[in-house]
């Protein structure tokens, strides 16, 4: 009975599509109905918004709700069974894995440290980088560059990139910025035009106007990140209670969508790297 009704609806939909001439894909998943709930990392907001929007477009019967409560809180909600998926912008801790949570890395966030073209420095240790951002090192000649002051540029409070950078470098709330800019593009432009400047941006936007610094001798490239050797990276995890295969069909469809070409497109569009 249900199937018949569905067939009728599909026929009507197809007819409508034929008449209006705007074709939409994904009618094959059109039989999915229900809610998927996610909770967790605030840093994953951009990814989750874009992904859920795109997913709901392909599956009109499904509503995806995402709450941004922080990685730890999201995993707690998952363990308590109040959400389907717990978002975390870090790897799961052993205690969390012991609860039965399974780590599914859906994307990798990489951050490049950039300096202006005329700077002779090409490599920096993570220790010195932290010292530059906390204001202990103020001149490039202290780390083997020319005698010119360092202009420390960063993002505004609340920015996901700033959050990730400070967390990974363990300088959270200890940074002394000379300039706080409110977009990736602004940081890129400022660093490119200011002699002695240093800044950080998403890995995918680095272009030829600036130098992407090696950190501890590792170049900021997608290969190095996938190999796990580049420091300024973190996984975006959508943890589930048990393997994906054990989840309900909605959650399975969600992960299938993330791994599909359309899902990968979304991940790339928000500036993240696809894990392998």
């Amino acid at each position: 009975m249900k199937k018949k009704l569905f067939a009728a609806i599909t026929a009507v939909c197809l007819l409508a599509v034929a008449f209006t001439g705007c074709g939409s894909e994904g009618t094959e998943n059109g039989d999915l109905k229900g809610n998927i709930t996610l909770a967790g990392s605030t840093s994953m907001e951009k990814l989750c918004e874009a992904m859920s929007e795109s997913f709901m477009e392909a599956n009109p019967g499904v509503t995806v709700t995402v709450e941004y409560t922080g990685s730890g809180a999201g995993l707690e909600s998952l363990a308590a069974g109040s959400v389907d998926i717990g978002n975390a912008s870090r790897g799961l801790k052993d205690g969390e894995k012991a609860n039965g949570s399974v780590e599914n890395v859906v994307a990798i966030d990489g951050i490049a440290v950039i300096i202006d073209k005329n700077n002779s420095v090409t490599d920096i240790s993570s220790e010195n980088l932290a010292k530059i951002y906390t204001g202990e090192i103020t001149n490039w000649n202290e780390i083997g560059g020319e005698d010119q002051p360092i202009v420390v540029i960063g993002r505004e409070a609340g920015s996901g990139t700033r959050d990730a950078f400070e967390e990974l470098l363990e300088v959270k709330d200890a940074c002394a910025y000379a300039q706080e800019l409110d977009s990736t593009g602004a940081v890129l432009a400022k660093v490119a035009s200011t002699p002695g400047a240093i800044g950080y941006v998403s890995l995918d936007v680095v272009d030829s106007t600036v130098i992407g610094l090696k950190i501890d001798g590792v170049e900021p490239t997608e290969e190095q990140i996938l190999a796990g050797s580049y420091l300024l990276q973190r996984p975006f995890v959508m943890a589930t209670n048990g393997e994906i295969g054990e989840q309900n069909e909605l959650v399975q469809a969600w992960f299938a969508y993330i791994n599909s070409d359309a899902g990968k497109e979304v991940i790339k569009k928000v500036g993240l790297i696809i894990p392998q």
Binding site: K172, Y177, E180, L181, D182, T194, G196
Partner: protein
């Protein structure tokens, strides 16, 4: 006859509705700002919020002090007025008293053009021209002082200079028209008493146009206080005490730069920042009404 009365009445109602729209907008905005801006005052504490100097909204132990931000707005606006008003006033004197017809038209239309330039253009030029110059000066001045944090030229001074230029058109056009409105009898009387042209201007014409000039100054203050885009591009945007070579943030840029990703108390505090700005602008407007009223009482 009846038809005429009907048209009259309808026109009346339409005009009334239009007037109510403006009134309603002002009331709604005021109400909204107070409703949205006050919760954070309660949550953070009035003195901690308004006079605190540490701005770390996303720290694990967050601190929401906007004292330096308020101070920056006040100092920046004040300094821009100090630089912009004398230049603007003297330009107005030139336009109304000295300039011949041709030169007057040229300078006058240049001033009009200055007023029409979008603020983002001021910001762009400030960023590309002013900031590098400031960086050079900064490197010369602080060469021996290692305690100074280099800002790459994006500093308070850049913001002040940009603001001073941006308020010029307002000050000039309002002052010029009030100088021109001064009765020629006064000028003639002053000259007849043996005063030179300069003495006449500075001791007779300008005092007579005082309230109009003050109106221009107050409008300039309003413009400087409310400017966001240009300042956001040249001032650096870190929260610091407003010294000339520090990277600073004003009330307006505070909202612009952090609203995008702010949530929770952080977001509420940004509304409070908006409320503070709104109160400042209301004060400026009250002063404006007062100066205008005084002008009428004095009969010019």
């Amino acid at each position: 006859m009846k038809k005429k009365a009907f048209i009259e009445k309808t026109a009346n109602i339409i005009l009334l509705i239009c007037a109510v729209v403006a009134l309603f907008a002002v009331c709604a905005i005021t109400l909204y700002m107070f409703i949205k801006g006050t919760p954070a005052l309660k949550e953070v504490g009035v003195s901690d919020l308004l006079f605190g100097t540490i701005w770390k909204p996303t720290a694990s132990n967050p601190s929401f002090g906007i004292g330096y931000i308020i101070l920056t707005s006040i100092v920046g606006t004040g300094a821009a007025i100090l630089i912009g008003v004398p230049i603007g006033l003297l330009t107005a004197v030139f336009l109304s008293e000295m300039a011949g017809k041709r030169l007057g038209t040229v300078v006058g239309s240049a001033v009009d053009l200055l007023a029409a330039i979008p603020s983002v253009i001021y910001g762009l030029i400030g960023m590309m021209v002013l900031n590098p110059i400031m960086f050079k000066i900064e490197r010369m001045l602080f060469a021996e002082k290692s305690a100074h944090q280099y800002t790459g030229g994006a500093n308070m001074l850049s913001a002040i200079i940009v603001l001073a230029i941006m308020i010029l058109p307002t000050v000039i056009s309002v002052s010029t028209s009030s100088l021109k409105a001064v009765s020629d009898n006064l000028r003639a009387a002053s000259l007849a008493l043996g005063a030179t042209k300069e003495q006449t201007i500075f001791w007779t014409v300008i005092p007579a146009a005082k309230s109009g000039i003050l109106t221009g100054v107050v409008l300039g203050i309003g413009r400087a206080l409310g400017e966001a885009m240009a300042i956001n591009m040249v001032a650096g945007g870190a929260v610091n005490i407003p010294l000339p070579f520090n990277s600073v943030r004003t009330l307006t840029t505070q909202i612009v730069s952090e609203m995008g990703y702010a949530s929770g108390t952080h977001r509420q505090v940004l509304f409070t920042v908006g409320l503070v700005l709104y109160v400042f602008i209301m004060i400026v407007n009250c002063v404006l009404l007062k100066t205008r009223k005084r002008g009428f009482e004095h009969g010019d």
